[in-house]
Amino acid sequence: MKRSFVGVLLIVSLSFLFVSATGAKTTITVMNGSWWQDQAPIIKQQYEQLHPDVEIEFVLMGMQDMWNKLLLQLLAHNAPDLFRESTSWVPALQSKGFLAPWDEYVGPDKLIKPEWFASQVLETYHFKGNQWAIPYRVDTCSLLIYNRNMFKEAGLDPDIGPANLKEVKEYAQGLTNTDKGIYGFVWEGASSTYFEYLLQQALWNFGTDIVNKEATKATINNPSAVEAVKFLVSFLEEGLVPQATMAFQDNQGTRFFGVQKAAMFLCGSGMQFTVDEAWPDVRWGEDVGIALMEHPVVGSNTYAMQRDPDHPEESAKFIAWWNENLPELTIRMPASARGGDWVERNPRFKPWVEQVALAKESTILFPEIREVHAIAKKQIEIAIVGEATVQEAMDEAAKQIDKALSP
């Protein structure tokens, strides 16, 4: 009886082993945003058709939850094989030992070829001697869109927009009409990521940055940086920007522009569709003008691999395929240039592609970047609400940043 039971157990085990050795698929889990819900099944189907031995399992979630859920999964050693990261996430997660390097798969004769990518986009994520993320999407929120009709009413030439933030302020002064409740300019909420881009752009306009190039010391309280912050605060003090944009609410700026209560808006390529929703009969080109700006901030979405990947090579193959085919699958600006005539087929994105190409400066990446940005934003808010002068607030910010950067 005992012997026959062991025999049956052996046969069942061997059968399982045989089935798993011959028929099992490699499953790659991929975490990304819920905005991929339409494309994800198509991507899955296409990739699995080409690679019958691989199963792609998408885990999609809202942007608000993504960081926390990813972090908890990483802490529990239960993270997906591949996950989407914003620019600032990469050094933060790398410094805590959560990421696996991609170097084995990136190179002229390897799976992912550097020449696919626009200059510096790939290099941004090469630090501490390794490649820590592979970009797949690039964008900028530094491009200015403006209401041409309001320009005409204010006596401004609707064919010529401002070229930098200092000119934006001059234009805003002419465009603001308090009687009609119209603001010259609007930006996204001070608590949102977009404000980080605006701050960065303002600092670059004034020839400075939040921290020094080595990311060892705060520079946000140097005279140029204080001038840059005073410049931003003055938009609110002079009533050129609605106070409401200081509230934490997504798409506040887009809505102000869309319902024609603000004349100018710094807009990302994806945000043009939100403007369409808020302003249903908008005619781009006729109602809305576009102006390329100096010192644009370029960001990208990347894929990272968790530190103990189950299938690193299969994951790298998938990312190579993704970068090759992304332009065909979605209307998002691809980081890879392999789309060829993508811009011609998606002409609405042309200004953003041109704006990205104008980028000269790149964001300094360092592990404490999220904390440093948060400190800077908080102190700017304190200056805006008048609890401290700009100089005092930036001195306090510098003190806190230096502490955060200290080893």
Binding site: N68, L71, A244, A247, R255
Partner: protein, 296 residues
């Protein structure tokens, strides 16, 4: 085997022993880990201490990020929420305790905020407060005059505005509990007092209020603990801003841990929050207990 009066000899202790073990595991272990984290530098990949740093995480927390302002905000948030929730809940309970036609409908309607998910409530109120597109400004200007202002962008109004949301969300619970308490007061006492010529105020002051004291005491403790630990509304509606004007200890702990990956400092703030909760709870119990002794 054991003496009847000893810990192991008493069957009562043996009956509750499994529950105590479970509580120790579910409560004791996390508290131990939080204490361990707060006194050390930890590796996030192993979640183990790599270096003991003593009280450095506490000092860092106390020195930076306007700790005093955040502590004050925590007090204002908790007290404001508590007073509003119980005050409004009391008023609603007195109204809903009347035997009038259609009262069941109102009893159900008043529970709606409490049964709606908090996130939904926060988003609805965000739209309500919206300066340009929300209803708050037109209503406020209609009632009090003045000009449009951004409630959540102002350092003086952001915290009160979110406290109002917290009150609106939780007062139905107070109302429900207080109404249950009201129904437990025998009608004969009121009848007897009326015969003696007691006024409405006297009925309330000398019968209703003392009879509800155990219920109110329970509410003060429960809702105080909930309020001090709740931060979802603040996080969703203001992120603690502008500046630190609506930031509370819960927000700070969350920011340290999840935004900046300083779980050690987050743990230190969590322990401070635990201490504040205990002090707050103790004071509440002492105050309500003392009143009970003097009145009855």
């Amino acid at each position: 085997m054991y003496k009847e009066n000893s810990f192991l000899g008493n069957p009562g202790y043996r009956f509750i022993a499994p529950a105590i073990v479970l509580i120790m595991l579910l409560f004791g272990y996390p508290v131990f880990k939080i204490i361990q984290f707060s006194l050390s530098e930890i590796s996030l990949t192993t979640l183990q201490p790599v270096r003991w740093v003593g009280f450095d995480n506490f000092w860092d927390t106390l020195i930076t990020y306007r700790f005093v302002q955040i502590l004050r905000n925590t007090f204002v948030w908790t007290t404001g929420s508590l007073v509003g929730q119980i005050g409004l809940g009391f008023a609603a309970a007195l109204l809903l305790n009347k035997k009038i036609r259609g009262i069941t409908f109102f009893r159900i309607v008043i529970m709606l905020p409490y049964v709606t998910p908090g996130v939904v409530i926060a988003i609805v109120w965000l739209f309500f407060y919206d300066t340009e597109f929300g209803l708050f400004n037109p209503l406020f200007i209609e009632a009090f005059g003045g000009e449009k202002f951004s409630v959540l962008s102002s350092a003086s109004t952001a915290l009160p505005a979110v406290i109002l949301v917290n009150i609106w969300y939780m007062f139905p619970f107070s109302s429900m509990v207080i109404r249950a308490g009201l129904q437990g007061i025998p009608g004969e006492i009121y009848s007897a007092a009326k015969v003696d010529g007691a006024s409405r105020f006297q009925l309330f002051r000398y019968i209703t209020l003392p009879s509800l004291r155990p219920v109110l005491r329970l509410l003060v403790v429960l809702q105080g603990i909930w309020a001090i630990n709740t931060f979802a509304f603040i996080w969703i509606m203001t992120r603690g801003g502008p500046g630190y004007s609506s930031s509370i200890l819960g927000v700070l702990a969350y920011e340290y841990s999840f935004n900046f990956l300083h779980f050690e400092k987050g743990a230190a703030v969590a322990l401070i929050l635990l201490g504040v909760s205990l002090v707050f709870g103790y004071i509440q119990l002492r105050v309500t207990a003392r009143k009970e002794e003097t009145i009855i």
